[in-house]
Structures are given as structure tokens and as C-alpha cells.
């Protein structure tokens, strides 16, 4: 029972953090563009508006069309259970939970791409093809990062990766862990389709990856997708913050505040990256991802010396 209450409050907190995080990215981009920008809670208003709308479905679609948006919300919430938030331990933790963490995103990908194909639209097929290609390249990078974390901290669960011995691990293998932070950052940008991998703000179907897959979703389903993508971004931000801020003061409120500000700081970093970089060509994305994979493989060599 206590776990469930913990889960409910955790999810609410996580949800709010995600919304604010997304708002901050938009604000930062607006600042760089010399604009004032929309309010920080604008995403929240959008989602509430969509939530009350009705759904228009294409005649081509079937029930699979619902599965993608539903899992888009469910999977980040479920994966949040495994992830400790700075000083808060994770709700669910066991040896090998990081595999479930990675494979749950696989499940999500299966159903988002399937529900895109369900419309029979050529544009959404294009989005699926791109999503499948990029994420199969991202998955090995993720595993290499986890190999390094497991080896460095001699543990096998997400909670222990970022637990008591991460400080020692940082001091022993600071270079390698630095590489992991960079790799996680690339993964975060790629998996959440941010610039330079994909531009969520353009609405030219031919160039989009993730957004093009949700063209036909409307109403609460679209709201679910928006919530899900905001949460997914924040989930990866938390992953990076857990790793990049290994020390804890021991005072829970202070730690939590630092954590929240660090996650929002990630939002600022993403915003700055998006403002100073242009979107990459599609063919270059593969090269960047493979380059990151090679860099992370160097990490393995360094750590197993």
C-alpha cells in the first residue's frame, strides 16, 4: 500500500517535472531567438485541451492504433519505478532491472511504429522506418553504457549503479564515466527526437522522424503521446543527473532541490544545444550514432584494462 502511494506521488511529481522541463526548453529556445516565449506551463494547457477533445479515426485503423499512444504513457511511468531520483531510492529494484528498462522502450517502439503503420499512410511509414533504424543503432550504445556502469560499480541494478559506490567509481574511472555521460546525452537527444537528430518543431513531414508517426492521432490519444514524450525526455534527464551528480549531502530536502534544479538544468542544456545547432542530414545521423558507439566501446577498453 505504501508503495502505491509512493508511486502515485512519484508519478505526479515526475509528470510536473516533465512539463516544466519541456517548458524550460521552449523558453531557452525563445530566449536565443530573441522572443519572449510561451508560458512554462503551456504544454500542460495543450494537454488539458487535447484531453477534452473527441477522437477522429481513419477508416483504415484498427485497435493497434490505440496501443502505441497508451504505451507511450505507460512505459515511461513504469520505467520511472526503477530509476532512483537523487536521494530517493527506486520503488522497484532487482538485479538486471536495467535490461527491463531498455527492453520496455523496445516494446514502446514496437507499438508506436506499428500504430503508425496502422494508418496506411506513406508518411507515417517513413517515420517508422527512420525510428526503427535509429533506435536499433541507439540500443547497443545504451548497452555499452550499462556495461561500463556495471563494471565500474560492480552492481547490476539501476539503483545500485547510482547508489553508494558511484562516488568511488567516479574517482577511479572518471574519464570513462565522462564518456558515459556524453553517450547518455546523445542517447537522450536521439531517443527523444531533439535537434540535431530530429526537429520536433518543424512540420514538414518529409523531414520528421518521431512527429510524423503521430500525424493521425487526435484528442486524448495525442495528449497521451505528448505526456509520454515529455516524460521520456525527463526520464533520460534523470538518468544523466543521477550519474553526473554522484555526491549527496545527506539532507533529503537539499538533495532533492539539487536534483530538481539539475534536471531543469538538463532542460537548459538541451535548449542551448537546440538553439546553436542545426538539424543534421538524415544520412549523417547514422554516422553520428555509430561514432558514439565507437567512443563508448573505447570506454569498455579503458575500464577493463
Amino acid at each position: 500500500m505504501q508503495d502505491i502511494i509512493y508511486l502515485i506521488f512519484g508519478t505526479l511529481f515526475f509528470f510536473m517535472l516533465s512539463i516544466v522541463n519541456l517548458g524550460i526548453i521552449i523558453k531557452v529556445k525563445a530566449f536565443f531567438g530573441g522572443r519572449y516565449g510561451v508560458p512554462i506551463f503551456q504544454k500542460m494547457y495543450d494537454i488539458l485541451k487535447l484531453w477534452q477533445k473527441s477522437i477522429k479515426l481513419s477508416q483504415t485503423t484498427s485497435w493497434v492504433f490505440f496501443a502505441g499512444p497508451l504505451l507511450a504513457t505507460i512505459v515511461p511511468v513504469f520505467c520511472f519505478l526503477f530509476l532512483p531520483f537523487v536521494a530517493f531510492p527506486s520503488i522497484l529494484s532487482f538485479d538486471g532491472d536495467f535490461l527491463l528498462f531498455v527492453y520496455m522502450f523496445g516494446l514502446l517502439r514496437f507499438f508506436t511504429t506499428s500504430s503508425a503503420l496502422d494508418t496506411g499512410s506513406s508518411f507515417e511509414g517513413m517515420g517508422s522506418a527512420r525510428e526503427l533504424t535509429f533506435s536499433f543503432l541507439v540500443e547497443p550504445i545504451m548497452f555499452v553504457c550499462f556495461i561500463i556502469l556495471a563494471k565500474g560499480t560492480s552492481s547490476l541494478s539501476l539503483e545500485d549503479f547510482f547508489g553508494y559506490n558511484i562516488l568511488d567509481a567516479w574517482s577511479d574511472y572518471s574519464t570513462v564515466f565522462g564518456i558515459v555521460v556524453v553517450c547518455f546525452f546523445v542517447i537522450m537527444l536521439a531517443e527523444n527526437s531533439r535537434i540535431p537528430f530530429d526537429d520536433p518543431a518543424t512540420h514538414l513531414e518529409l523531414t520528421m522522424t518521431h512527429e510524423v508517426m503521430v500525424l493521425d492521432h487526435s484528442g486524448p490519444l495525442l495528449a497521451s503521446i505528448l505526456v509520454g514524450s515529455a516524460m521520456k525526455l525527463t526520464l533520460f534527464a534523470i538518468l544523466i543527473v543521477d550519474l553526473a551528480i554522484p555526491f549527496k549531502t545527506g539532507i533529503l530536502p537539499l538533495d532533492t532541490t539539487i536534483g530538481i534544479f539539475a534536471v531543469l538544468g538538463m532542460g537548459v542544456v538541451v535548449g542551448i544545444t537546440e538553439s546553436v545547432m542545426a538539424r543534421l542530414r538524415l544520412t549523417d545521423i547514422k554516422k553520428i550514432l555509430m561514432g558514439t558507439l565507437i567512443i563508448s566501446l573505447f570506454g569498455i577498453i579503458l575500464i577493463s584494462r
Binding site: K53, L57, L70, L92, G106, F110, G120, L215, S224
Partner: protein, 655 residues
Amino acid sequence: MFLCISLFFILCSAFLPFFIAKKNPLLCDKLFAFFYSIGALLGLGFIAFGITKGLHVAYTLPFSILFSYFSIKIEMINLLFMIPIYLIGSMSAIYSTSYWSTAQKGLGSSFRYRLYLCLFTISMILLVISDNFIMFITFWEIMSLLAYGLITIDEDSEEAQSAGYLYFIATHTGVIALMGMFAIIQVYFGFSDFSSALGKIDANLAIASSIFLLGVFGFGMKAGFFPLYFWLPSAHSSAPVPISALLSGVMIKMGIYGILKILFMFSNIPHWWGWLIFAIGILSGILGVVYAIAQHDIKKLLAYHSIENIGIIAIGIGLAMLGRSYHNSTLVLFGLAGALFHVINHSLFKPLLFYSAGSIIEKYHTRDIGHYGGIIKVQPYTALFFLIGAVSISGLPPFNGFASEWLLYMGMFKTLFSHQNTLMPVVFGILSLALIGGLALACFVKVFGISFLGNPRKIELSNVKESSLFMLFPMAFLSTICFVLGVFPSIMKDILLDIASAFNQKNIYVKIDTLINLSEAYLWFFMIFGVVLAVVLYQTRGKISKNIGTWACGFSHKTPRAQYTSSSLMQMILDLFGWTLHVKRGAFCSKELFSQKYHFYLHQNDKTIYWLAKISEKFLLFCSKLRTIIHNGYMGIYVLYIFVALILMLLYVGN
């Protein structure tokens, strides 16, 4: 005893129902399925009893007509490999009621088909329980021949005949290697059965490596290791669907069983053996899935996925062998447990996929994925079961494929902590398993998305109804087991631990209790799933209207041909693996000023088989050239041959 009765029932099912076949063909088919299922149920009951009681049976029956004796041995590993034989056998028997019905195919064909099917399963059961080499090789041969009969059962299909021929050659090449292997064991070491040789052969002897290599060649030919799999895609795709399910789900596992059996005989295992199997596993896994992605023929695609899954199993066996040679019992446990669990899992979801593919092939008479589309609207249950199979085979939670892959991952991650840096190449296993997982997911999104979703491309959906219950029941049953084994994987943990300790030849004190954690995590998952589903359904009730077309970004002349096809969906991935494929592409367009028609083709095929065919072609050409030199048509030369031969013989006699 139980086993005898169950085999007797299966045998009866092949003959008895045909007495009424002339009067009532449908009843005959039903009776066949019924008798067969009773036999299989008895057999499964025996297995369940054996597993709970820790059965250990060893009999020796006199069998003086042919060989001196027939010894039976039933232990955990035999019981484990018997589960798929009975289960998939009975499912195929039920499925055949509508797929290969007597009324449709004629009495003779139907009788042959059912007789072969029964004898095929019986020979596999006897193969698994037989202990002495001569019986093992006999049943191996019977099984292989019956499989040939089943692949070529469709006499009108030229494709099936040529695929059967290729299979026939391949399997006999394998058998020769196996006979050589057993002969070496018998002559050099004096053992004539598995149990007396158990753990007695010293692998450091030079001859031991040749035993191992012959075994890997012979059994790997049947299992479909890279590059010995060349017979597999064509044989699996041209056999009838229930037979493809049996071949892919059960028969190729006999190769895995054989390899495990010979490994049990060695007292120690050299390091390079483990690395060899590990490397074969990685190669088969990655190439299998890449070739599968390039395929458009749904059955061939599933056959290539068998190679991929055999690769995953081989990775697990390789890990277990490495664990033995490096004295790392954690690796033995997780490697072998993962491999055996994957054997069971693959024998569940692969037949499931074949059955659901058969259910659509029967309706539209084509195996090309590029023709399908939108089938989910007319065959919703088939689509659901195919989806479950697809999610399971991609190794996604909460289905069974994930549980076995999870065990393999855990084994490999745990070696990271050991201070044996020589085991570091195991990280390539982690990476390739991740790669295989990602590619398999992409491949099954393609199959499911292109064939079941969207609009029909070249098929006609009107007038199509859902398949009959005889086809749906096996699919439903297997999907349920896939789901249950996925959510409660700890059902398997005792039997896996038992076999792994037997393989390690000393007790293992590590446990795989962590499997129970997965069930707990899934409980949370289903809770969140339920809440979100309920909230969304509540919010959207009555607000859904389904009366518009798909948004085509302002383009109003929609056609199903504008949809993404199976090749365009995967082309980005295949470009990365272009070096493994034999690509032929070209385009035709009319030479007029305003070209009206443009035709483009792209064929991407297995480069390994292409090269194997090319090499064997070159070799045959060389041999025939050699023959023309010897056999050149000059009478004088032939007389000279006779003369030379006579002189040689005289010299030999004179000495």
C-alpha cells in the same frame, strides 16, 4: 509404461481413423487429432510427473534382431526436449484437421501425411530417450528421412521437391559426420552409449577435438548453424505449414540436443571450443536476422528467424562451455539455463508464428508480404496471435522471449565482475544480443505492420472470413503458454538448475531465483497498464468517430500502392548491412518521350548461400574438367589404363 501407451496412441491415430475415411472424411481427421492429442496428453503427463518427481529411468531392452540391445535413459534433459515434441506434434495434428484435410487433399495424400507425421514424432521421442549410439543414429536417420517425406509431400510443387532434395543431401552429409564421430568414440574409447561415456573422455587428447568438430558439423547441419543452414530456408518455406512448425520448432532442436549430449561426455572442455560455439552463435544470430529482414516471403522470413534463434541458443551453449573451461559456475548456470529456456520458448513462438502465417497463406494463396495488408480487419484473431508471437520472438517483455534473453544477458553481465580478463570478449555477446534484439524487432514490425495493418495492397479482402477453430485453437493455446511463461518464468527454474548442474559435473551454488523479480515487476506494469487503459477508455467513450480517411498531407488521390512497402520500410537498415547481401536491382522504362510506365525491381538475397552455390559450382566444373582429361574418348588411352592397372596389380601381388 506411460510413454509406451502414449506412443501407441499416436501410432493408432495414424491408422484407425482411416477405416471410416471414405464415409466421413471430416470425422476421420477429427479422430486423428483426438487420438493424437490423447497420446500427447499422456506423454505430457508423464513428463510433468517426471519433472516433479525428479525421474531417473534407465532400461536396457534386448533387441537381438538388429542390434544387441536398446538402452533407454530418461533424465531431466531428455524430459525437457520431449516437451516440444509432444506439444507441437499435437498442435500440428489439430491444425492439420483443417489445413491438410482428407476431403481436400485426397485419401492417399492425407494418409501418407498423417502416417509420416505420427512416425516423425515417434522417432523423435525415441531419439531423445535412446542411450546407445547405434539406436540414436538409427532414429536420427528415420527422423531425417520422414522429414524428407513430409517436406516433399506435395507432389505437384516443384519447389518442394527441389527443397527436399537439397535437404536430403544436407542431412546425409551431416549423418556421415555423425557416424564418423560415433565410430571414433567406439573405437578409441570403447564406449557404446552416452551414459557410460558420461564425463569420461579427456578433451585434451587430439582425437577429442575431432570428435567435437565432427559433432558440431553433423548436429550443426541439422540445427542450422552458420554456414551449414543452407538447406533450412527453402525446406521450411516449401513444407506444409504444420510441418514447417514441427521442423522449425522441434526438429532443429534435436541438433542442439545432440551437441549437448556430446558435450556431456567430456570431462573437461578446452577454451577454444567455447569460443568457437560462441562465435558461431553470434554469426548465425546476426546474419540470420539480417537475411530475414531482406526476405519478402513470409515463411522464408520465419525460417531465417529460426537461424537467428539457433544463434541465440548457441551463444548460451557457448557461454556454458566457457564457464566450464574457466571454472565459472555462474556462467554455466546462466548460459545453459538461458539456452535451454530459449529452446523451449522458440519451440512455442515459432510454431505459433507459422500457424498464423499459414492461416493467412491459406486464404490469399501467396507468401509475399508485399501483397498483404489490412488483414487485421477480416482475421482479427489470427492477427492478435501473430502479434503475440511477434512480440515474444522479438524478446520484448512481458513475453517469454524476454525471460530467456534476460538470463543470457545476466550471465554475461555477471562475468564482468569476475577478475578473469580473458572472459572480456563476452561483451561482444551482449552487444550482438542487443543488435539481434533491435533487428528482430524491426523485422517483426515490418511483417506485422505490412501484412496485417494498413490497406490491402494486392489481395482482395472482401469474402474472407476468419480461419476455422481447428486453426485458431493451436494458436490460442501457444499464445497463452507464451504469455504465462513470460510472466511467470520461475516455473522453469528448477529443471534448468538441475540440467545446468549435471552439465557442470559438480553442484552449482548460484541460484536463478531472480526470475521471480520479473513477475513482480510485471505486476506493477499490469497495474499501471490497467489504470491508464481505464482512464483513457473512460475519457474517450462515445467520443470516437471513425469516418475519415487517413491524412495524406493534403494529397487527395490516395492509393494503397502509396503505402510503405516491406522493402522501403527496411531499406535504411539493409543499407547498413549491404555487404552481407547479394543485391540485384534494376529499372525498366519505356523509351518514349513521355514515359508512362516505370518498373523497378530490387532483390536482396542471402549472400552466404549465393557464395556456397558459386563455390560448389566451381568445384563441380573443376571435377568434370578433370574427368574429361581422364575419360577422353581415345580407345588407345583406355587400353593403356587397363594395362597400367594390370601392371600395378601384378606388382602388388608379387610383393
